[in-house]
Symmetry: C2
Subunit: 458 residues, 2 copies
């Protein structure tokens, strides 16, 4: 039994940040992590040559002030995502090379459809109050239909539909039919809108930390020292009038309050005693994770750059839905990242390893030429089979959930507080949002106890 001021559950960016801020404020903390590693839905592997692979969340962009602040704090510089050269879009087997964010060589009809679709989403996003999306004027209407239904009804070109589906619904790593339109608008809006979501330069894929996300999270862990406990899956959280008892495998922690910073989809695997309020308990059943496989392929060099390609490509529904240049700041070795999401990722999961590798390399060959056939290493990260992520990348809300249960995303349940990127009103779904949520939760528990102490003195 360990006795601390606060117990934090989950050592992803949200939990790490909460624990860090509490410790920096002079509080004692225990941070319990189920895995034998930290980072949560980020996961950086450093190679012998000093290069690194971000097997999970990797990119940052303008407006994500809290991840930048954290990087400043630990002296981690950024470097810009490589964007020089043409991107590529594959529609119906036909390759379109293009500069900028729109593949102009698609039919004018498709491009117009796509542009109008994106503009409409941008406009709808602007009407969503970040802190209370359920108060948007058209909240009820937008929460009754899926993003997939909206795309279906608002694009008349098949190519535009497929692109929008991949770019907008793909984010939720589930079929477009699974995600509420209101949730999608809320999530995208929390970052500024769909243009931010899909953009490299100036968008959500603008830059990366030198050393990868691990350079940041390992610095936090170093500062936390022995407050961090690995391989301690939490099984039960019991609250009483004086505090909480958090029971993990092999370790029980007594604290004034707990901060639970794990994905919503698996928050219900903890037994809460007494039971959580109904709406929060039901929320845990209602924000599933998706399916995403991120594959990092190491080559001698980023050979696509010499061909005038930036490395970005998109092929809706294929085994390599998205590719992006994932080199380090030295561009040595060449690292190509393949991200496959939703139904395509689930199909890929059901293949055996050799077939999956062949399918993915085959796609790269087709897009980037013969050199793609000679990878040095092939690193697969299937977030779908990460027990303690419950899928990836983020949890989404199906229709009806945000308007009915959204208010519980941040509301503490007695002495149990909630963090996690999905609970952030700003940059919800990004690492920056996770950090914001950790800082909010840390402030919340300290304020609650200061208020309680003041009351006691009176």
């Amino acid at each position: 039994m360990s006795d601390v001021d606060y117990c934090v559950v989950g050592a992803g960016f949200a939990g790490l940040t909460a624990a860090l801020r509490l410790k920096q404020a002079g509080r004692s903390v225990a941070l319990l992590e189920a895995r034998d590693r930290i980072g949560g839905r980020t996961f950086t592997v450093t190679r012998d040559d000093g290069s690194w692979i971000d097997r999970g969340g990797a990119w940052i962009g303008p407006g994500q002030d809290r991840i930048y602040a954290m990087m400043d704090e630990f002296g981690v510089p950024e470097y810009k995502q490589h964007n020089d050269g043409d991107a590529m879009m594959i529609v119906d087997g036909k390759k379109h090379r293009y500069g900028g964010t729109i593949p102009w060589s698609m039919s004018p009809w498709a491009v117009t459809n796509l542009g109008i679709g994106l503009m409409s989403i941008e406009k709808m996003c602007k009407t969503i109050p970040r802190e209370a999306p359920w108060e948007a004027k058209r909240a009820a209407e937008w929460d009754r239909i899926s993003l997939g239904e909206w795309i279906e009804n608002n694009t008349m070109s098949k190519a535009a539909r497929e692109m929008l589906d991949m770019a907008m619904a793909g984010v939720y790593t589930s079929a477009g039919s699974e995600t509420s339109l209101l949730w999608a608008l809320t999530q995208m809006g929390s970052g500024g809108g769909p243009t931010f979501v899909i953009s490299g330069k100036g968008g959500a894929q603008d830059a990366r930390p030198v050393g990868g996300m691990g350079a940041v999270y390992r610095s936090i862990a170093t500062e936390l020292g022995d407050a961090l406990h690995l391989s301690r899956p939490v099984r039960q959280i019991t609250q009483d009038g004086d505090g909480v008892t958090v029971a993990a495998d092999g370790l029980t922690v007594r604290a004034q309050r707990a901060i639970v910073a794990i994905p919503l989809a698996i928050a219900s695997s903890i037994v809460y005693e007494p039971m959580l309020p109904v709406d929060r308990a039901l929320l845990h059943q209602r924000m599933p994770g998706g399916a995403v496989i991120k594959i990092s392929i190491i080559y001698d060099e980023p050979f696509w750059r010499a061909d005038g390609l930036c490395g970005q490509s998109a092929a809706p529904g294929s085994p390599a839905t998205l590719t992006i240049d994932a080199c380090t700041n030295t561009a040595d070795p060449g690292i190509m990242c393949v991200i496959t999401e939703g139904p395509a990722a689930r199909r890929l999961t059901r293949m055996d390893e050799a077939d999956r590798k062949a399918a993915v390399i085959g796609e790269l060959l087709d897009r980037f030429g013969a050199k793609a056939n000679a990878p040095l290493e092939f690193h697969e990260q299937n977030w779908t089979t990460e027990r303690y992520s419950g899928g990836g990348m983020i949890s989404h809300a199906p229709t009806g959930v945000l308007t009915e249960f959204g208010y519980t995303l941040r509301e503490p349940c007695g002495r149990v507080h909630w963090a996690g990127t999905e609970s952030s009103a700003v940059m919800c779904g990004w690492i920056d949002g996770a950090i914001r949520s950790g800082e909010r939760a840390a402030a919340e528990v300290m304020t609650a106890d200061t208020a309680a102490a003041a009351t006691t003195r009176v």
Copy 2:
């Protein structure tokens, strides 16, 4: 460590039936139940005078052959639901008394809207292949929108919309916006369509077992004897090449195969080792339970009958959304049942007990007169706070889930098999469906082992 042929998890009707059929086939069984009672989402309390209250699932109807067969097996007779007299519909504070299933005193416009809505749903239901709803011709389209959206778009009268929402969406005990249209059509279609769902005589509320559901499930338990283990919440199921190890609090069972017969919404609270296939694991995050409160109020006598009322009333959105005569076959004492579902039930849950009682009795007073004010007893059953139900009455599929994950509802995962009413293609969501699923799973495990034995002999 207990060693048996098969281990069944969950002693609701699905698990009880599976264990019973296995035992009757000469197999050894352990049935582990988390609660200190059996029955799952049915729960019969017998009063000192011999009358009983069904605090959960209660009604049966034509076509539900497997519950009737079970009743025959144990000599439990049925009695018909009391339907004599007028029903009542309250719309915008105005009471409409009516005979039959349609409140003709509502405006002709509303009644026409309602009739057309019901007919359309009936027609759509007929196009759904029971065993594979995802293969319906319009499956993709119907799975992209919520039932709430369909009702919104297909009823132009507000009164009709509210009635349809209550009658069709209420079944899922969540907001209409939460349930996929395809799931609703599948569930209703599995029983024959919406008319069956909402009807008393000849429908899903046609009759009840004498003695309540407990008369049936207690008979099964008696036959199971010491194969039944109460207060044994299962925490982990480990499979290997030879069998499964099921670890519950205080009891570990080794068996050839396991049948998990608990609601989908809480099936993910068990740790599966190795992890379940991705699509099944993701299904567990995607079929939430709803909110339902069932209140049974005891009076001297069923006084409403003397006033020419059958006891059925409906008031969309009110604290007593539905009422129904719940007397035993002797009609002594008078038992009025109040069922409140979805958002209204969640609002009711947040009230304190006295206010909730006052609100409900107030509604009955208004509908049935002063005698409603003198209840002898007031029994509340809030399924929402039943930890081991994960909400009630049934799990629903949000949009996109059935087409993407539906195929996993019945597919065994190695040595782990699935039962539960939601896995039944016939009478899905009813007690009859639970029994069917238990019989199917029992046959499944025995067939699998017979096949394996045959292979070994060769």
